[in-house]
């Protein structure tokens, strides 16, 4: 049974999804699917929004080639129930040797290439305002220019529940139905709606390498040590930190998070490398 505020968040998200769908062509739209917990919730909301019909919109996964193997397994399972496109930038950069360019090319550039290739103009994403400071400033219906760039100064004034969901010749749209959800909301929703997520979120003995106190990265080689860890966020495995944890199921995760001292952001290299790095990436066209 959903608690009251989650019911309201769910209603807000579904109303937004439907409003965008009712005022635009399905062919122009895509749902950005990252395989993570937010994507799982977003997928669930799309199913509910279209029930009893199936979802008529394509999903898109931007692959870097460096995701966790458990993510690929999960993705292939989900691909049986949705219309999923997978796009990978042929540049094939490497996170170890290409540094920051890796993220720019394999994520931001790749996303823009895919949108152009399939002529998608409206992209749904699972971004939440509590994730990062610049996200807290972005609209739920976010205007991007023809090159998919975000300009914080020329955002539309937005007053929910009246969204301006119209495209012009020179604009694209990013839609964030989960804007007002927090990390805990996501987990409480996953629990009450019994949503399937990648097993990496649950603590298990895993082969890891210590990078800094309390932070580990996954090792698929023989090197490393065995630790009981879990991942709070999922991305490319060399850039995603695991934390020590005993949370083996959703209930454990919720009680762990209720006491958590840190936000999930510390486990993500992309958000954490420089001050305002997410804002800069958004201005370049990232989600």
């Amino acid at each position: 049974m959903l608690c009251n505020h989650l019911k309201q968040l769910q209603k807000q998200s579904i109303e937004l999804i439907r409003e965008v769908c009712a005022t635009n062509n399905y062919n122009d739209m895509v749902v950005f699917y990252s395989i993570g917990k937010d994507s799982s919730v977003l997928l669930d909301l799309f199913k509910k929004a279209f029930y009893p019909q199936s979802i008529p919109i394509k999903f898109l996964h931007i692959d870097t080639g460096w995701k966790f193997k458990e993510m690929y397994e999960f993705r292939d399972k989900i691909a049986k129930e949705i219309d999923l496109l997978v796009y990978k930038n042929p540049a094939n950069l490497n996170p170890y040797t290409d540094g920051r360019r890796y993220t720019d090319v394999m994520k931001t550039e790749a996303l823009k290439q895919a949108l152009q290739k399939y002529k998608f103009r409206i992209a749904f994403g699972g971004g939440r305002r509590d994730e990062e400071k610049s996200r807290a400033k972005e609209r739920m219906v976010s205007i991007r220019d023809e090159y998919n760039r975000w300009s914080p100064r020329s955002q539309n004034p937005e007053i929910p529940p009246l969204y301006n969901t119209f495209l012009s010749d020179k604009t694209n749209l990013r839609i964030f139905p989960l804007s007002n959800w927090t990390e805990l909301d996501i987990w409480r929703y996953i629990k009450s709606e019994n949503i399937d997520v990648v097993p990496l979120y649950f603590a298990k003995e895993r082969n890891v390498i210590k990078t800094q106190p309390g932070m580990y990265i996954m090792s698929y080689d023989k090197i490393g040590e065995t630790k009981k860890v879990r991942f709070r966020t999922l991305g490319c495995y060399p850039l995603t930190g695991a934390v020590e944890s005993d949370a083996q199921n959703v209930d454990d995760i919720i009680s762990e998070l209720e006491k958590a001292q840190y936000t999930e952001r510390i486990t993500r290299v992309i958000d954490y490398d420089t001050d305002g790095s997410m804002e800069i990436k958004k201005k370049e066209g990232y989600f």
């Binding site: 439907r18 539309n156 004034p157 510390i266």
Partner: protein, 532 residues
């Protein structure tokens, strides 16, 4: 959590909004270690070096560098079994529009006033906007009280003085308010603000009903119709619902948790329809107050509910639409009382219009025809003077059609022969009727001395024709002949033989009554007939 409560934090620039919110987040236990570390770093880099709670807030690089808030930031904190959603507003005049959009969706407001600066222009502007958007609960914080301390003690006299000033300004609003002196940097008074917010959220009634459903789209499954719907508050499905704009009864079959509606009747309902129990207004002429984010353009649409309608004519306080909206006066149903204005070319949102449909002339009966106030009488009788007096008695200004003005333009081809004079009056009547049919109130000043012609006009316009005969004798008219008309030989014809007729609604005797008395008589007539 049981509730979701949205409030804005507003006030003049630099009056301490971000610091106050930062401290609220800290006191409610909603700041994590890494966020605290970031804020400390930012305090060192961009601030004084001492930890400033404000750095927990501003998100854009430009904002942190300039230490101002440019755009609304959305923050959440959980406290007392409630999700508090803070809309942190910019205070700078240039960004007032960003404050306005936040106010539109808020349940309450926290307004900060710097004790050393007192009430500023922006403070008043923000109060106005809160009031426009029907925010009822207002918590006013007198900030930075520590900075005006005398001998280490807060300056009570200064606080009291400002409190009195605030109170006197608030007499003209309807807020349920409280005033709390605080020091965010020293964390004094912040807990009182938190308590107040808890008190406010407890007054929010989760059981409140609005019973207004907007149809987002019509879908089919197994040959059965169902609808995607949008609604704001709880729905009481036991009530009798009607379908708008058709205004016909409808029976709700089921509304699922995910907002899927089915109805019993087999009807063709589509996006833009509205199903409601209780009064809604259906009109294509709407009185409004609009907050513009950029200049109005020639090609605009308004979006409200699930309708997007072209604006045919835009006036400062009203607009005429291609199709009616289904709405409420904002003071009756806040959530159904405003719309956004979108430029049709760029698709940018350029304004937010608050609907003020409380005037009798444009009330619940849809597409009501406007009134035509037809001033007739001799030249110099005082028609134009009285018409102009009347013009200002309406809050929605009527359109004035003065025969003398029209003779300069549309009727410039006509002379003063009997035939031409009749044509002249007929054309004016035609224009007045066209305007009235589209909902406008029209005031006409025209000698129109033929009784039979006025009777025809009355028949043409119908029930909304109100004839006001301004009765002044020829002798008196000549005395007040400001236009010099009675000296003109050509117009000799027109001054004679005014024919009184049965079409008249009201006679104003300007031989004996002053303008003031005449005006009062007109107003009494309008009031007693429910016209104003």
């Amino acid at each position: 959590m049981e509730k979701l409560f949205k409030f804005i934090c507003c006030g003049n620039v630099d009056d301490g909004k971000s610091t106050l919110i930062g401290q609220l987040l800290l006191n409610s236990g909603n700041v994590k270690v890494d966020q605290m570390e970031d804020a400390k770093k930012a305090s060192q880099k961009n601030g004084s070096g001492v930890f400033e709670p404000a750095f927990l807030l501003d998100g854009l690089l430009e904002e942190r560098e300039q230490q101002i808030t440019i755009d609304v930031a959305h923050r959440f904190f959980d406290y007392d079994d409630t999700r508090f959603h803070i809309l942190d507003c910019p205070g700078h005049k240039q960004y007032t529009k960003n404050m306005a959009i936040a106010a539109a969706e808020a349940d309450a407001a926290v307004l900060v006033i710097d004790i050393s600066k007192g009430i500023q222009e922006q403070t008043l502007k923000h109060l106005d906007i809160c009031s426009y958007f029907q925010i009822e609960k207002l918590c006013i914080c007198i900030t930075k009280c520590d900075l005006s301390s005398v001998n280490g003690k807060w300056n009570d006299e200064k606080i009291l003085d400002l409190t009195e000033k605030i109170k006197s300004i608030l007499t003209k609003y309807k807020f349920d308010y409280t005033i709390i002196p605080v020091s965010s940097m020293q964390n004094i008074g912040i807990d009182k603000v938190l308590d107040k917010l808890v008190e406010y959220k407890n007054t929010i009634d989760n059981q409140e009903y609005e019973n207004i459903i907007h149809i987002q789209d019509c879908k089919f499954s197994n040959g059965k119709r169902y609808y995607w719907v949008r609604y704001n508050k709880n729905l009481d499905l036991t009530k009798n619902y009607k379908l708008y704009p058709e205004n016909i009864d409808i029976t709700i079959d089921k509304l699922s948790e995910n907002g899927v509606l089915t109805i019993k009747e087999d009807m063709d309902i589509s996006r833009g329809h509205c199903i409601a129990a209780g009064e809604v207004l259906v009109n294509d002429l709407i009185r409004h107050y609009t907050i513009w984010f950029s200049e109005p353009t020639n090609d605009m649409v308004i979006k409200h509910g699930t309708r997007t309608v072209k604006i045919l004519n835009y006036y400062e306080n009203s607009f005429k639409l291609q199709e009616p909206l289904i709405f409420n006066n904002i003071t009756d149903v806040k959530n159904n009382g405003w719309g956004i204005i979108i430029d049709n070319l760029t698709k940018k949102t350029i304004g937010c219009a608050v609907f003020l449909a409380n005037e009798n002339t444009y009330s619940s009966k849809s597409n009501k025809k406007g009134n035509v106030y037809w001033f007739t009488g001799l030249s110099g009788a005082g028609k134009t003077t009285l018409a102009k007096e009347l013009l200002n008695s309406f809050s929605l200004k009527p359109i004035l059609l003065d025969a003398d003005d029209l003779r300069q333009g549309v009727n410039s081809d006509l002379g003063y022969s009997k035939e031409d004079r009749i044509k002249n009056v007929d054309r004016i009547a035609h224009i007045a009727n066209l305007l009235a049919s589209q909902g406008f109130n029209v005031i006409v000043t025209c000698i129109s001395k033929e009784a039979s012609q006025r009777a025809r006009i009355k028949e043409l316009i119908g029930k909304t024709y109100i004839e006001i005969f301004v009765d002044r004798s020829i002798e008196n008219c000549q005395k007040y002949d400001t236009k010099g008309l009675y000296k003109s030989i050509n117009r000799d014809n027109m001054i004679n033989n005014y024919q009184e007729g049965s079409s008249v609604s009201l006679i104003i005797d300007t031989n004996n009554d002053t303008i003031e008395v005449s005006k009062q008589k007109m107003l009494n007539y309008l009031k007693s007939n429910n016209l104003i």
